[in-house]
Structure formats: structure tokens, C-alpha cells
Point group: C2
Chain length 209, copies 2
């Protein structure tokens, strides 16, 4: 786990302009551009204009940087799906409403944590940290598939497509954002979330045709 | 361009078990697993049990291997979209039918050329070969967006989502196959193509709800 910055909670003045968060942002950017293996702590220090020991002050190892980045993405996505599943108990929403909410909130997490999610979606399990991330990702995928199944079971979703295939394609569409979404681009988060949910639930064809 | 194998057209006996095609398959696999930069021609030779000069006999450089792999994916996808656009002249099909055909055929290309398309979708433009591939990919994306626009214009597709956004999401769903499709898995190509087109055109919600 990354150490907490000693200045956290107070204005950060320890190293002008660079605190733990900035180190992490820069590391994620380098990992995405050059690959994790192709990035050294020395590269990161050079990019930030810091010494390596200044980096190690915030993150004991390169692997801790990767773990922090992957956890950022996974924590965001887990919260979305756990919230959607939890609202089942309230029983005020149908499974389909909860699924739609999970889709919308996933889009928001992807936009808000785009570099971290991009990194997560490229992880292939080459280390314990990556294997751990893949396990957490699979657990999220399984909960999403359960939600699709619940919506099919309650009769609000078509049941002629296997739920796990629906889930793959639905969140494949959501995850494609990491390939083409650009901050400050033409479409804001709400427009994209609307487009995804309209296509997924209502379809592209005009009704009655 | 890779040289044609001197034995092409005749039974390939030059190097027992390994011809140009096998070298390319192995290279694509290594590029996908270790990254292009992380793979040397020496690694490839080692993996195949060949000398480096045996590799160079088929492909003059590592960059030629990358180009051959990316062209394999791009040629397949270009053919799909060019066929869909060309049938416009016959005027027997609506734009929506052509779009649906482009989606179905794209799924087939992804399944048939999965490793090459996986490599293509991970290219970031780090060399002239990659920049060239990105240009070809953008040209394909533009034609697909035009087809979506034509379908909206003819009135067979909803027009409340910007066509380029629809196109991104629709083919984002198709392209997600490289993340989760496994040969000999539970679903065959036709089942996946059916699922994609049903979700995309008809939507997941049961009609009338």
C-alpha cells in the first residue's frame, strides 16, 4: 500500500507542486504510453523532475504504483456494482433499473478515472498485483452478469441471449470508452451514458419497423 | 512487405513444420503477450526453434512482421466495410441492412483473425508502420460512421444519438470480442453476431415495456 503523504490533510508544501497524487497520475500516464515493463522509477523521476528517492517516499516500489492505480479503477467500479446490487434490498427498483443505473454509473467511473481504467483493462496477469486485479475484475463481471440474469428473470429483459453474453457485450460497449473517449471532446458524460443506455435497452432501430 | 516463401504454391518442405505463415502466427502471439517492444527476433527464433536468419528469410525485419499482422487485420475489416458500402449501388439493400451486414461480417473477421485484430486494437502509433495502420483504421471507422449516418438519414435508425457516437459504441461492442472471446468457447460466431445485432438494433428491453 502507498504511504500516506505526511502533509495529507494540510496544504501540501513538502515538495513544491508534486505530491503523492501527482506522482500516481504521472506513473499511470507513463504505464499507459510505454507499458508497465517499459517504465522505470527512474523514467518517472525524470518526467517529474524529482529524484528516485522522492518517488520512493510516496510509493515504496513501482509495483505499489501499479497497485494504487488498479485499485483506484477497481474501487470505483466495485462501488458502482455494489450500490446497484444493494438497492435490491430496498426493492423499490426493478433489476432492469438497477442494471441501467450500473451502466450509467460505470460510464461515469470510466470518464472520471479514464487513465486508471485504461490501465486496468490492459492488465494481463503478469504479476501478483495484476493477478489480484484480474480476480477483482472477474468478481465485478460476475455481479454484472448476475444483474443481467435477474433482469431477464423478472421478465423485463429479453431472454433469448445468454445473460453472460449480454453482460460481455453491454460492458464491452461501456469499456470501449477507453479507446475513443477524449476529455473535453464533443460528448459529455451524460450524453454518452444516455447513448449507451438507449442503444442497449431500446436498440438503434426505430420502433415499429 | 514479407517475401513470398520460395516454396509457396507447392507443398512446403523447406523448413520442416515452419513456413512464413507459422512464423507470422508465432510473432503475433508473442507481440500480444509481451508487447512489440518486448519481443526480439531472437525471442521469436527461440520460440520456434529456428535461427534468426531463418526468420529473416521470411520477413526482412521485425517491423515487416508487425506490418504483415496489422495488414491481415486491416485487409479483413476493409473488405467487410467496402463490400457493405459497394452494395449501395445495387440499391437492393437499405443502409440499415448494409450496416447490419457490416456488423455481422466484422464479428466474423474478429473471430477468424482474433490475434491480428487484438494487435491492431492495441497499436498506438509508435512507428511509421503503426501510424500507417492507424490511418487505415480511421478510414474504416469513417466509412462505418457514414453508414450509420446513411441509415439514420433513410429513417430506419434512430437519429437522437449522434451518428459518430453510435458508430463508436456499436463497434466498441464488436471490438470487445478481443477482450473476452475464446476459441472453442461457449458461443460460436453466429451466436455472437446474432447477439450483437439483436442488442444493437432491437435493444435488450422487451418490447411494450
Amino acid at each position: 500500500m502507498p504511504r500516506l503523504s505526511p502533509t495529507s490533510g494540510a496544504p501540501r508544501r513538502g515538495r513544491p507542486g508534486y505530491d503523492q497524487e501527482a506522482v500516481l497520475r504521472c506513473a499511470v500516464d507513463l504505464f499507459n504510453r510505454r507499458g508497465y515493463d517499459g517504465t522505470s522509477v527512474g523514467d518517472l523521476a525524470g518526467e517529474l523532475g524529482l529524484t528516485k528517492s522522492a518517488i520512493y517516499h510516496h510509493f515504496p516500489s513501482k509495483s505499489d504504483l501499479l497497485q494504487a492505480a488498479l485499485n483506484e479503477a477497481l474501487d470505483g467500479l466495485s462501488e458502482v456494482i455494489d450500490t446497484a446490487v444493494a438497492s435490491e434490498n430496498g426493492a423499490r427498483e426493478t433489476a432492469r433499473e438497477r442494471l441501467e443505473s450500473a451502466v450509467r454509473q460505470s460510464v461515469a467511473v470510466l470518464v472520471e478515472h479514464l487513465p486508471a481504467v485504461t490501465l486496468l483493462l490492459r492488465v494481463h496477469g503478469n504479476s501478483d498485483v495484476e493477478l489480484d486485479a484480474l480476480r477483482r475484475r472477474r468478481a465485478i463481471d460476475a455481479k454484472l452478469a448476475d444483474l443481467v440474469r435477474a433482469a431477464a428473470d423478472e421478465g423485463s429483459l429479453r431472454s433469448d441471449i445468454p445473460p453472460e453474453l449480454t453482460s460481455r457485450l453491454l460492458f464491452g460497449m461501456v469499456n470501449s470508452l477507453v479507446e475513443w473517449y477524449r476529455p473535453n471532446g464533443r460528448h459529455d458524460t451524460a450524453a454518452i451514458a444516455d447513448a449507451v443506455t438507449r442503444i442497449a435497452f431500446e436498440g438503434l432501430a426505430l420502433r415499429g419497423r
